[in-house]
Amino acid sequence: MNRTSGTPPLDGVRVADFTWVWAGPFCTLQLAHLGAEVIRVETAGRPCVTRLLPPWPDGQPGVNRSGYFNQYNQGKRSIALDLATEAGLEVARDLVRTSDVVVDNFAAGVMERLGLGYEACRALREDVVVISLSGYGATGPEHGYVSYGPAQVPLSGFSSVTGYPGWRPMHVGISYGDPTAGLHGAVAILAALLYRRRTGEGQFIDLSQWESTMTLLPEAILAETLGAGAPERDGNHDALWSPHGVYRCRGEDRWVSIAVATDDEWRALARLALPDLEGDRAHASGVGRKANEAEIDRRLGVWCAEKTREDVTEALQALGVAAFPVMDARDLHDDPHLSERGYWVELPHDEVGVRRHAGIPYRLHGTPLAVHRAAPCLGQDTSAVLREILRYDEARIRALQDAGVLR
């Protein structure tokens, strides 16, 4: 299927990346994956939040040592720039002048205050695509509100419908709005690049993280608007399919997921695990099984308890029933399937050595994608970018260094 092996899709596209934390960097990570040259503009005085969070090798903190930063900034370059100085802003403007795309995820209005809003960028480069991934969007009465990743989950409605039955609202395990907004941002940018190729025109894109997250809750929102009643928090259960749960297996905190969507899958499961129910008419339909779900869960729990999650998975998969272990970080790290698929990225990094990072979840068979370098140390590429891309001479770079602008 490798009939061509051309350059990656965004080869030659340059991205001025003013993002930080997770949503914005996850957006520009997609562009880097697709072959764009992504240049992160950082400031040593206020490093990216993810540079300050664990995990760090040996538990020793350091701005270049965080696995969180290093995961989501693979393949990018980093320049250090003090944007509180006019000289620093001038370098930023020169970068915009030579960039196809400008991305930020500050609160609405911050880029304008820096003199780097859309109109200013457009004056520097007529056909530039500018996207701002703010928490609440650029307009509306709450546009200036502060938005942190963990708070987007409850704000967007996810917490009110996620949780164990009878419990309080719950989180979902990750700051789910961030990567979702990052992916929507990448979609919006790619569409704008297609439009620019056709018309020669750039544009401004206003993306709201809150809205982005809500687009993944259509079932709950439509249940309300269609008068079906908003869903109750119901653990791992499904509104229609049954059984549908996560069951404890042998071992310490080891679990397996089992999901039955069709009556055929149910009969296969029952034949093996609950043989007295296989032909039982009361359990033949999803509606019937939902009515007796607590008892089915209890009995499946007993059936799983003495088996390993691998044994349960193998036995049920052999019958065409969807079962899979609940994976933790170590399970994923050691998983032969992911290794065999070549999913992981392991590249040398000056301060953390070679470590395993999650790779690119989409494969382009004709124009193969790859991460070509580990995440940058803070400001690692400042001189190179100023020299090679902005065409500054050595004296100018030295003067900026001496003035303390390049940090």
């Binding site: 409850p154 009110s160 790619l190 791992n236 933790d328 994923l332 698929r341 395993r356 999650a358 989409y362």
Partner: protein, 394 residues
């Protein structure tokens, strides 16, 4: 841009929705029995109706719809003509059924060399687990996210907890739309199409935030049983509902204490910094809930935000639909069902200044555009009749 959506459930339909929302002409191909999401609801008034399933109406607005039974040999020439007229084909057919449905990438690329063929599967097209079956719950567990969510150390008996909805499918769809648009840019440049392969499990492993890297960096597998290291970052109960409070920075905590009139707590050693507040959260939570009980959610949310503290309401669906902010931005849109129900749906999360999003058409009734689309491909009435008699179209 012309797109053929051969999705069977959520993932490929969601990818095709992204392209439809960006203005592509999308044809949704359903089996004569209807797409899987037609049976999912939610339904108006809770009554089953495959022409009014909320999930289907949402995923397939802005698309036309045809029926075509890809498992029947008589359908193959129709598929091939559709493919020849498309720029992108998206599907989420299981690896062992791809050939039976005529969707092998090699074959499609012979028919249309600049085609982008995007295949979304649970575990990818190769590798030892590529043949396994998985529904959304299984994938959420396979991707490692479920293991991170639960009731904390006091609820070790409760299982790892999934998020609400078909989120594995939505994430795979978003990744597929990113990759497909990338491949489309490449195809426009070079004239060469290609196969785009998306593994849903890999999409989810790529959004584990800082959890996965804990293992290669520190030998740790984070779990739902861990205590939150820093607080407050939690749910409190107000007079009339729940609020999420978030004081990551010291100044946010101090400002919050001033807001609620308890600045003296800032001096208490056991709550001295965010780590201590994490360690002593059980005690702190009781105090904070007493305070929260004196406020409504709206009051505390807006008062905190006015002081730049990033609190958020725990929005119910009703709250979202009533939000003045979202109304001012015109986020929600209304679309009809084929039965005439007015349905309010989430709009697009992005606003392109030059190319604004529009809801151009409602989701199709089953087979609504079969004749229209096939006639456009050159089929006449007698050929349509023959196809219908064979069961290839509905």
């Amino acid at each position: 841009m012309r797109v053929l959506d051969c999705g069977t459930f959520v993932a490929a339909s969601h990818a095709a929705k992204q392209l439809a929302d960006l203005g592509a002409e999308v044809v949704k191909v359903e089996p004569p029995a209807g797409d899987g999401t037609r049976a999912r609801g939610p339904f108006p008034g809770g009554t089953f109706d495959p022409e009014a399933s909320g999930l289907f109406l949402y995923l397939n607005a802005n698309k036309r719809g045809i029926t075509l039974d890809l498992e029947k040999p008589e359908s193959r020439p129709v598929l091939d003509r559709l493919v020849a007229a498309s720029d992108v084909v998206l599907h989420d057919v299981a690896p062992d059924r791809i050939a039976a449905r005529g969707l092998e990438a090699d074959r499609l690329l012979e028919l249309q060399p600049s085609l982008v063929v995007t295949s979304i599967t649970p575990f990818g097209l190769d590798g030892p687990k590529s043949g396994l079956r998985a529904h959304d719950l299984n994938l959420w567990c396979a991707g490692g996210i479920a293991f991170l969510n639960g009731g904390g150390p006091a609820a070790a008996d409760l299982p790892p907890l999934k998020v609400y909805g078909q989120q594995a499918g939505f994430q795979a769809g978003l990744n597929a739309s990113v990759a497909s648009l990338g491949a489309l840019l490449a195809a426009q440049q070079s004239g060469h199409g290609q196969l785009v392969e998306v593994s849903t499990q890999e999409c989810l492993v790529s959004i584990l935030e800082l959890a996965f890297e804990h293992y290669p960096y520190m030998g740790i597998s984070p779990s739902r049983l861990g205590r939150k290291p820093i607080q407050p970052l939690d749910f409190l109960q107000c007079k009339d509902g729940w609020i999420y409070i978030c004081c990551v920075e010291e100044h946010q905590w101090r400002t919050f204490l001033e807001l609620v009139g308890s600045p003296e707590w800032g001096e208490m050693e056991i709550f001295g910094d965010r780590l201590q507040r994490g360690t002593n959260w059980d005690a702190l939570e009781i105090f904070l809930n007493e305070i929260a009980a004196e406020w409504t959610v709206e009051e505390l949310y807006h008062a905190a935000q006015a002081r730049r503290i990033p609190f958020a309401p725990v929005s119910t669906m009703g709250d979202l639909l009533a939000s003045k902010h979202l109304q001012a931005r015109g986020f929600f849109a209304t679309v009809e069902s084929p039965r005439g129900h007015a349905v309010t749906v989430p709009g697009a999360p992005y606003r392109h200044a030059r190319t604004p999003w529009r809801l151009r058409r409602r989701a199709p009734a089953l087979g609504e555009h079969t004749d229209e689309v096939l006639r456009h491909l050159g089929y006449d009435a007698s050929e349509l009749e023959r196809l219908r008699a064979s069961g290839a179209i509905g």
